[in-house]
Amino acid sequence: MSLRRKHRRWYRVSRWALLPVFIALAVVLVQTVLSTAPANGELPRLVDEEMSASGVLHPLTAVLLNFRGYDTLLEIGVLLVAVIAVWSLDASGKSGHLRLRLPSPNNAALRVDLSIILPLMVLMAGYMVWIGSYRPGGAFQSGAILGAAAVTLISSGMLPAPFGRSRRTRLALAGGFSFFMTVAILTVLFKGRLLNYPMAWAGTMILLIETLLAVSIGAALAALFAGVAGIKVDEPGSPSRREERGP
């Protein structure tokens, strides 16, 4: 017991001891930010020059999907790894549990709301991918909307939670990354470089990749929501909910 108290006191002391370290770090960072010269405009100029070869009209999309598309490819991999890691926790019962009380299936207002909002969300997601080639938008924004739609469905009880780990879900999750990687391989075979799209096809390929990425990103966000929360569904009026109110 005394050891534990000692440990706790040490923890409290060490926490305060770290304060000057962080203050010093903050001072150094602020000073560095202030003394950083504004970046020379070389890269924006290069992006402008090569825009015509990128297959799209918006510089952000050109950087994300073409000039530095390889970064994006790996980032999609990171998202997939995150889902796999969270699922591996959940299956062993290690993750926390959030109890979700489902609304009654007869809730007419909810059904009407959803039947209006959800189609709009899907439409919006498609629109986001489409405009990405010439305006701010693209796979990530679209995926976020799709993910929100799926979360809405899960929490209103219309999509089975915990967001079934069926083959279909896994294919949706891995599809974007696999397709992107396959394109990368095909470009190696035909053009000799990773992600070197044939110029005439660049726009079409980017649109296709973004569409599949949007689906995978949406699925990943929904899977993370369902997985992290460790959702256990209580049917309305089920007795199990009362047991959870214990001390």
Partner: protein, 500 residues
């Protein structure tokens, strides 16, 4: 040549990544086939990458056909190839081991279902780290491999593994952010993320120094250098054994590799001798502290994990020696560089062998207490031999590869008159004898122990193969020196021919 074989380096990243997606989507269906395909692909691509490097000399691959600084460029030279070789050797061996490690019980099948996708993503991320020469791309690849490593640790059913992996996750995220902050400053200052472009533009200055310092802090946390090593023992010791092997042999080397790349290219300009000496001092502290802790442990995997803390220390002794070489005789820098890379390789092979052997022991007797090892030398002779041979390399006794590493580092420190590092390294070698003989003494005790499960022969064979490999690299140092010379930076490559 047919086009498939012209860019073998791209397959190193693509094949494991697609293997990961496939084993995730289709689970156990056709898993053995996918694994065999990935392993064959890795082996062929590695061989082809080597052939290309030897025929063409150092080369680059501009991704998407966009030349740096607009696009991302890979640089393949001797150092990258050496790390790729280590990853492929250890990666293939661990995969063969894992095929036997996960049995048929429901719990083990669950672990396997998540192990394969995460493991293949980890491999893909590691290859991506060793290939690239872009400071932001390193951030992305560090995230990919780091997150996969966290997921792999949690596969163990032990509660300590969950705590260990959580701590690792928090440290890894913090470290990534420190690194990213440095990247942002460098980009702001020089307008490029490409290492070669940066090397041409970099100038001494306060922003540059802060940026490099932030990146260094992030990377030494990833490499588990003392005193930022505290996350390593619980994470590495409680993970499933094939995962422990991958973490100690490969993952910590990734942070070190990036730091070394930055050091070789950027630091000669921004001369930071005191930072180098500081890194060396932390390395020396790691050797002494890690070894001392290893001697105190009563569990085999914790002992091996603390030994990793100590062996990482040797890698960082290289930095002050490099700087001494740049200020004085370039020969010292060549010695230090070759010694450091040799240490990364030899430790990778030997440590993977030890962790895999520990996994065999756990399979056989059910736990990894040191006292459970008594009498196992007779029951598991192959595994005991693997532990002995791997230990030769760790202790730095010829003909282990670790001997060449430590001998080169010792020569550099003695020649440059920095005796302090030499004393610490010799002391570290003696302490390694100390903690490893605690293992051997028990293995050689005569005692009739009941072996609960006879481990699959292939698991034992894999551990032994890795241990033998750690000796093979010690028998002849010429091939590796030859490799390191290809495209070596001028700051270290001057006298590589002069090496024995």
């Amino acid at each position: 040549m047919i086009p498939v074989l012209q860019q073998p380096e791209t397959w190193l990243v693509a094949i494991p990544a697609l293997g990961a997606a496939t084993t995730f989507a289709f689970r156990e269906q056709g898993r053995r086939g996918v694994v065999s395909f990935v392993l064959a692909g890795i082996a062929i691509s590695t061989a082809m990458t080597f052939a290309k490097l030897l025929l063409r000399g150092p080369y680059s691959h501009s991704i998407g056909g966009w030349v740096a600084p607009l696009g991302i460029t890979w640089q393949i030279d001797g150092l990258a190839a050496a790390m790729i070789l280590l990853t492929s050797l250890v990666g293939v061996m661990i995969s063969r081991y894992a095929l036997e490690y996960f049995g048929s019980s429901a719990e083990e099948q669950r672990q396997a279902a998540y192990f394969w996708p995460l493991w293949f993503f980890l491999l893909s991320g590691l290859y991506a780290i060793f290939l690239t020469a872009d400071i932001f791309n390193w951030y992305v690849t560090l995230e990919l491999s780091g997150l996969a490593a966290v997921g792999l640790i949690t596969l163990s059913e032990k509660p300590q593994a969950l705590t260990g992996s959580m701590r690792y996750l928090l440290i890894a995220l913090c470290a990534s952010l420190f690194y990213l902050l440095g990247v942002v400053f460098l980009y702001g200052e020089y307008g490029s993320l490409d290492l070669t472009t940066l090397a041409a533009r970099i100038q001494p200055g306060s922003v540059t120094q802060v940026a490099l310092a932030l990146m260094t802090i992030g990377l030494i946390a990833k490499a588990a250098l003392f005193p930022l090593h505290f996350w390593l023992p619980p994470a590495h010791a409680n993970a499933p054994s094939p995962v422990s092997a991958a973490l100690s042999a490969l993952v910590v080397k990734a942070g070190f590799y990036i730091l070394l790349r930055l050091q070789l290219v950027l630091w000669p300009v921004v001369s930071t001798r005191y930072l180098a000496i500081g890194l060396g001092a932390l390395g020396a502290a790691a050797i002494l502290w890690g070894s001392a802790q290893a001697i105190r442990q009563s569990r085999l995997k914790l002992l091996i994990a603390y030994s990793t803390v100590a062996q990482i220390g040797y890698l960082f002794i290289m930095f002050p020696l490099l700087h001494a070489g740049w200020a004085g005789d370039p020969l010292w820098a060549s010695y230090a560089w070759a010694g450091g890379v040799y240490q990364a390789l030899s430790h990778g092979l030997a440590k993977a062998a030890l962790f895999l052997a520990a996994g065999v022991v756990i399979h056989a007797v059910g736990d990894d207490r040191l006292d459970s090892l008594r009498g196992l030398g007779e029951k598991l002779p192959l595994t005991a031999t693997a532990m002995a041979l791997a230990g030769i390399s760790l202790m730095g006794i010829p003909p282990g590869a670790g001997f060449i590493a430590k001998w080169l580092l010792l020569s550099a420190s003695v020649a440059s008159g920095q005796w302090g590092w030499a004393v610490v390294m010799i002391l570290g070698g003696l302490m390694a004898v100390g903690y490893l003989f605690r293992v051997y003494r028990r293995l050689l005790t005569a005692r009739d122990v009941p072996v609960l499960h006879q481990p699959p022969r292939r698991m034992e064979a894999v551990a032994l193969t890795l241990a033998i490999l750690s000796l093979v690299f010690g028998l002849s140092s010429y091939p590796l020196f030859y490799l390191l010379r290809i495209g070596a930076p001028a700051s270290v490559g001057l006298y590589l021919e002069g090496l024995p």
